[in-house]
């Protein structure tokens, strides 16, 4: 019954949610700030930005899309998408010349994971902003 109701719910117009989702991608937490969810927006911004900055300070590597065997393609393309999802943080770090090669060592390894995870957490924030803007969530 609940599932039927879920399926019948009309999709909100793109103009209602696209600005919040786009701003949420560009500036982590920005979508929530645009939708007047200030406290949650600030928490998201601080968490995602701190995680990304920790990744940079640990000298984590940025992924570049690569083709090859399936695993290589999955890891590198998926990692690249994760990096890009950090929005302005990724763009700024690339524009300012951050280019650390993949090095051995647990700190660098953690740094790489921090950079990707910051992007993935921002995807969660974007989905939340979409649900709020589309009226599916308060």
């Amino acid at each position: 019954m609940a599932k039927e109701k879920e399926e019948k719910r009309p999709m909100a117009p793109i103009s209602a949610w696209a600005p919040a989702v786009a701003l949420g991608w560009l500036i982590p937490g920005g979508g929530h700030l645009l939708l007047k969810r200030t406290g949650r927006g600030v928490l998201l911004m601080v968490s995602v930005t701190s995680m990304f900055l920790c990744g940079l300070m640990m000298r984590g590597a940025m992924f570049q899309p690569q083709s090859g065997d399936l695993l290589t393609t999955l890891i590198n393309t998926g990692g690249f998408i994760g990096d890009v999802c950090s929005g302005i943080l990724y763009l700024l770090s690339v524009w300012l010349g951050y280019n650390t090669p993949d090095m051995a060592g647990h700190v660098h390894d953690y740094g790489t994971k921090f950079l990707v995870t910051a992007g993935l957490l921002n995807v969660l924030a974007m989905v939340d902003a979409f649900e709020i803007a589309a009226g599916r969530k308060d």
Binding site: R40, L43, L44, V46, S47, V48, S50, M51, C54, L56, M57, M58, R59, Y98, H106, V107, Y110, G111, K113, F114, T117, A118, L121, L124, A125, V127, D128, K137, D138
Partner: protein
């Protein structure tokens, strides 16, 4: 950009903290539930961290 040198524990602790905050914020519908869920996921991260740490320690003999 300053360089950070963290131990495994410190890095995993920070990872758990940031991830738990985001999971708490985006998952639930009111502030009380968000706080509880964030604390719960952070606790789960720490339990897994110590648990897997001990398993690896004992596994190495």
């Amino acid at each position: 950009m300053p360089k950070m040198n963290l131990s495994h524990f410190e890095a995993a602790f920070l990872f758990s903290l940031f991830t738990s905050v985001v999971l708490g914020v985006v998952t639930k519908t009111n502030d009380r539930d968000r706080l509880h869920y964030g604390a719960y996921t952070f606790g789960c991260f720490l339990v897994a961290l110590f648990g897997i740490g001990w398993v690896m320690y004992l596994g190495h003999g």
